[in-house]
Subunit: 340 residues, 2 copies
C-alpha cells in the first residue's frame, strides 16, 4: 500500500469517525436541551402545570393508549378573560366607545341621545344599568357596520396599536396573558391546531390576533354580522350590516366549532359561564381531553372575580368544574407572570 493511499484512507476514516462522534454529541446535546427547556416558564411548578404537561405528553406519545393523531389535536381557547383581560369591561366595548367619540363630531343628531351621551362620558355604569345589552348592541351597530370588512379591520388595527387601558395605562394588546401565550406555542409545537373561539366579533379579532397570538386568520371563531355583497366601481366588496348572523357564546360555541372545524376539541380553555357548553363539548370527546378554566384570583396583579361579576361571570361553570374534575387554573398561585 502506498503511503499516499494510507494517508487518504486514514484521512477519510478520520472524517468518518469524527462525523460519527459529532453526530452522537449533537444528538446528546439535543436530548439534554429538550429536557432542560421549560415550555411553560411563566407557570409555577404545581399540579396545574403538571396536568397540562402530562396531557400533552400522553396524547402525543405514539406508544401511549391516549395517543391522538395530529389532525385530531384541536385546541380551542376563549379570548376575553382567558387570553387577555376583560376588566373593567370587554376591550371590544372600549373600541366601540372610542369609535363613538371619534365619529360624534360628524353626527350632530347624536347630541340628544342619552345612550350616546353615556358612551361619550365613558359611563359604563349607566350604560350597563340603564341600557344593558340592547344599548351596547345599538352602539356596536352604529360603529361597526356600513363599511367594508377591510376598512373595519384597518380601523381596529389603528386602535389596537395605540389605545391604552383606562386603569393600567398599558396598550390593550399588552394585556395578554403570558402563560397562555406560552401554552399556545407549546401546543403548536406539539402539532395541535389552536383556535380562538370567542364571543367577540370575528373581524375585530382578525385585526390583531394573528400578530399578537401567532394564530392564522382561519383559526379565529367569533360572533359574526351579516354582509352585503356589493360592487363599487366594478370592484366587489363585503359591506358589514347591522344585522347579526351568529352569536358565538354559550351553546353557540360548540355549534360554530362544529360548523367551522368539524371536529370535537381535545383541549378547551375558558373562564366564564359563556364557555360552559364549549367545555362540556370538549369533555365529551372520545379521546382523552383537557378541559380547563382560568380563575381570576389575583386582585393585585390583575383582577379577582367570579360568581358575582357583571363581566365574565364564573358561576355555573365553576360548579361544573368541581363536579367533572376540570382543571381550574388559579391565576394568583399558578402564574409567575401575568403580562409579557
Amino acid at each position: 500500500m502506498k503511503p499516499k493511499t494510507v494517508f487518504l484512507q486514514r484521512f477519510l476514516l478520520g472524517i468518518l469517525v469524527a462525523g460519527l462522534f459529532a453526530g452522537c454529541s449533537v444528538q446528546q446535546k439535543e436530548t439534554q436541551v429538550s429536557e432542560e427547556v421549560d415550555p411553560l416558564p411563566s407557570w409555577r411548578d404545581g399540579s396545574s402545570k403538571q396536568s397540562i404537561l402530562d396531557f400533552v405528553k400522553q396524547v402525543t406519545d405514539t406508544a401511549a393508549a391516549e395517543f391522538v393523531l395530529p389532525k385530531e389535536r384541536i385546541a380551542v381557547f376563549d379570548n376575553d378573560g382567558t387570553l387577555w383581560s376583560e376588566k373593567p369591561t370587554y376591550f371590544q366595548v372600549e373600541f366601540v366607545l372610542y369609535r363613538i367619540k371619534q365619529l360624534a363630531p360628524k353626527h350632530p343628531e347624536w347630541q340628544d341621545d342619552e345612550l350616546i351621551r353615556a358612551a361619550l362620558k365613558h359611563d359604563l355604569k349607566t350604560l350597563r344599568e340603564e341600557f344593558g345589552a340592547g344599548g351596547l348592541g345599538h352602539l356596536m351597530a352604529l360603529t361597526q357596520s356600513g363599511m367594508s370588512s377591510d376598512t373595519f379591520e384597518n380601523t381596529v388595527r389603528d386602535w389596537i396599536n395605540t389605545a391604552r387601558h383606562p386603569v393600567s395605562g398599558k396598550l390593550f394588546r399588552e394585556m395578554v396573558f403570558k402563560p397562555m401565550l406560552e401554552l399556545i406555542r407549546y401546543l403548536q409545537e406539539n402539532d395541535f391546531q389552536v383556535y380562538v373561539a370567542s364571543g367577540g366579533g370575528i373581524d375585530f379579532m382578525r385585526a390583531w390576533i394573528p400578530q399578537v397570538y401567532g394564530l392564522p386568520r382561519d383559526h379565529i371563531l367569533g360572533s359574526m354580522l351579516k354582509y352585503r355583497y356589493k360592487k363599487i366601481k366594478g370592484r366587489p366588496v363585503l359591506i358589514k350590516l347591522a344585522e347579526i348572523l351568529f352569536v358565538n357564546d354559550r351553546d353557540g360555541k360548540p355549534k360554530l366549532i362544529h360548523q367551522v372545524i368539524g371536529r370535537k376539541p381535545i383541549l378547551a380553555f375558558g373562564n366564564s359561564d359563556g364557555d360552559l357548553q364549549m367545555l362540556e363539548w370538549c369533555g365529551s370527546n372520545q379521546h382523552k381531553s383537557l378541559t380547563a378554566l382560568v380563575h381570576h384570583t389575583d386582585g393585585e396583579r390583575e383582577w379577582a372575580y367570579d360568581r358575582k361579576s357583571n363581566v365574565g361571570r364564573l358561576d355555573r361553570a365553576l360548579n361544573e368544574a368541581e363536579k367533572q374534575g376540570w382543571l381550574v387554573v388559579d391565576m394568583k398561585s399558578d402564574w409567575k407572570n401575568i403580562y409579557p
Copy 2:
C-alpha cells in the same frame, strides 16, 4: 498497521464512498423524475393546461413579481359540476330521494302526500315543475334533520359507499373528475390551501370529501342548517334542525369564504352562475389570480349543457368569463379522461 485495522479502514472507506455515490445517484434520479413527471396527466396539452401550469409557477417562484406567500395561496372549488357530475340532478338530491324511500315504511301518513309520491317514483320532472325548490327543501328537511350530526354523517357514508348513479351505473363517488383531482393534488404540493365552497350541505360533504378528494374536514364550506345543543343522558349532542343557517350559493360564497377563511382566494374554479360572485371575488385579488370555469361540452363522456340547463346553468358567468378573460376549460377538448 495490523491487517485487521487495514480491513476495518477499507471497510469504512467502502461504506463512505458507496454512500457518497448512492447519495449522488439518488439526487440525480430525483431531479430527473421531477422534470419528467407531468402533474396533470389527464389534461391535454394546450392553452388551458398551460395557463394553470404557468400560474402555479409564477405565484410559487420567490424570484417572480407575482410571488404569493404560502399562507395566502387560497384555492376554492365549487363541487357539483366542478369536481363531480351533477346530472340528471345534484347527487345530494339522489341521497334525499333514497332516504325518503328508506324512511317511507315507517311513515304511513306519507301515503297521501303528492310530493312524497313523486319522490318515491323518482319523478324528477314532477318534482321540479310542480314542487320546485320549496318541495325539495321540504324533502331535505324531512330527511336531514332531527338527528345528531354524527348519525347523519354515518347515513351519508353508508349511501356514498354503495349508491349507484341511475344513468352510468357507477358509484356516485366514482363520478368525480380525474383532471380536477390531479389539480387539487398539484396545488397542495405547491403549498396551496385547497377548499371546497359548495351550495351542497356541509355535513353531507364531510361524510366523503376527505376520503375522495383528500381535503381536511375544516376545508369544506357548504350550506348549513341550524343545530340545537342538547344533552342526551348527560352527553352533549348537536341535533340538526329543519331551519337554514346559511345558503352557500351565489353571493353567499364570497361571504362564507370571508367568514371562515378570512382571505380572498387566488384561485377559484366553478361551473355555473351560482359561482359567479365567488369568481369575481377571486378575480379582484390584489395578487395575481386564476379564475376559471369548467364548461360541460362532452355529451358523450359526460353531459353537454350550459345556458338553458335546469341544473348547473351557465349563462351570466359565461358572458362574464368572456368579458374578463377568465379561463374556460372545455371538457371535451381539454380533458383526456373524465372519471378515474
